[in-house]
Symmetry: C2
Subunit: 217 residues, 2 copies
């Protein structure tokens, strides 16, 4: 086997997947807490930051290929109150998407539905303010559903498949909580992690790195 | 039976208790969402609003004898960020107590423990700013535990007693959730209601008037 950048990456991925499998055997899934954030389309990035603008990656996220950017925007809604410093995540997407919490929705007076990422039809309108322009999305604002990213190997270990819904116990925080109907998302590009928003994490008293356990049916 | 103010009150209480029992029979408990708030001692009210100041009742709360006041204060913590417009609840108490959410605790950078109301020993310090003065509590800031107020009749119906801990399902919101270790508090002065903070309510997508059901052991 020739050792080039691509093969090294493939090996590292396999080792990491193996480490994930070990974690699964212990029956726990690490938590990743998603603060409010924005995914942008090429067109909306142009409007907000200027024609041809390129995002500046700041930090890789746990899901491979996803990264937080230096760029931030301000959100506003019908309340005429602003939430400032909302992080842009890369890479660019086909359609812009704004993910906030229910707590944020009261600040802005918007009524986003609970949705899986990318499922934006009929979701809430919202306005994004950038340094070079303003975009009002007709739809695109959601409260992200509770979901778990995992590899096909993880899915086999847990006995689930892409699109399944399971229940998990969040017992490692200060307030013991069970979350029902957590969506399973399987891809060999994923890394084992359950994503919840700040409302869920704060209600259960969880931090990044806290773990949950799958409830046996 | 002579009909005076006292006997009428006793009858109304009994009728209301009966109505509560009907609700219990259906197996549901209504939710009351507690936003951040402040209980003050006589001494701290003097410091914040001026010697001999009297609170102005604004609205009765669901628990008999408790009321929201016109008066509000500002909270600050080591973050040097302020949370303004925090409601004072009456009547006065022996010791001042500030109840906030985990979300608020990040804004203020305070680390309050999850506690039942009144259990303040070793709880977090916090600063309250009033129109006439500032009070820094050495302890008194907590995250209120999840708890259910009920009458002795309610307790009999549910088969629980004061100080018990039970589990409840919050299924009427947008994200199905189970709360474990919910404290039972029984008094003939109480009205059947489960109290949760804004983090819990928002995480489960509940509103005031939403209901929970007791999980059978």
């Amino acid at each position: 086997m020739e050792l080039n950048a691509q093969s090294v990456e493939a090996i590292v991925r396999r080792v990491v997947a193996q480490m994930d499998s070990t974690a699964q055997t212990a029956g726990t899934i690490p938590i990743g807490i998603s603060n409010r954030h924005i995914h942008l389309s090429r067109e909306d990035l142009d409007t907000l930051f200027g024609k041809g603008y390129e995002l500046t990656p700041l930090k890789d996220l746990s899901q491979p290929g996803q990264y937080a950017c230096k760029e931030q925007c301000t959100l506003v809604g019908p309340s005429m109150r602003a939430i400032e410093g909302v992080r842009i995540l890369g890479p660019l997407r086909r359609q812009s998407q704004v993910e906030i919490s229910v707590t944020d929705s009261f600040t802005l007076k918007v009524k986003p539905p609970v949705r899986e990422s990318g499922s934006l039809e009929g979701s809430a309108p919202i306005t994004i303010i950038g340094p070079k322009g303003i975009v009002t999305l007709r739809e695109g604002c959601i409260i992200a559903n509770r979901h778990i990213h995992m590899t096909p190997a993880d899915a086999a270990t847990f006995g689930v498949k892409d699109g399944d819904y399971i229940d998990v116990d969040a017992f490692s925080g200060s307030k013991k909580t069970r979350w029902f109907d957590v969506q399973i998302r399987v891809s060999d590009k994923f890394h084992l992690e359950m994503h919840v928003d700040t409302d869920d994490a704060n209600a259960a008293g969880l931090k990044n790195g806290s773990v949950v356990t799958v409830v046996k049916p």
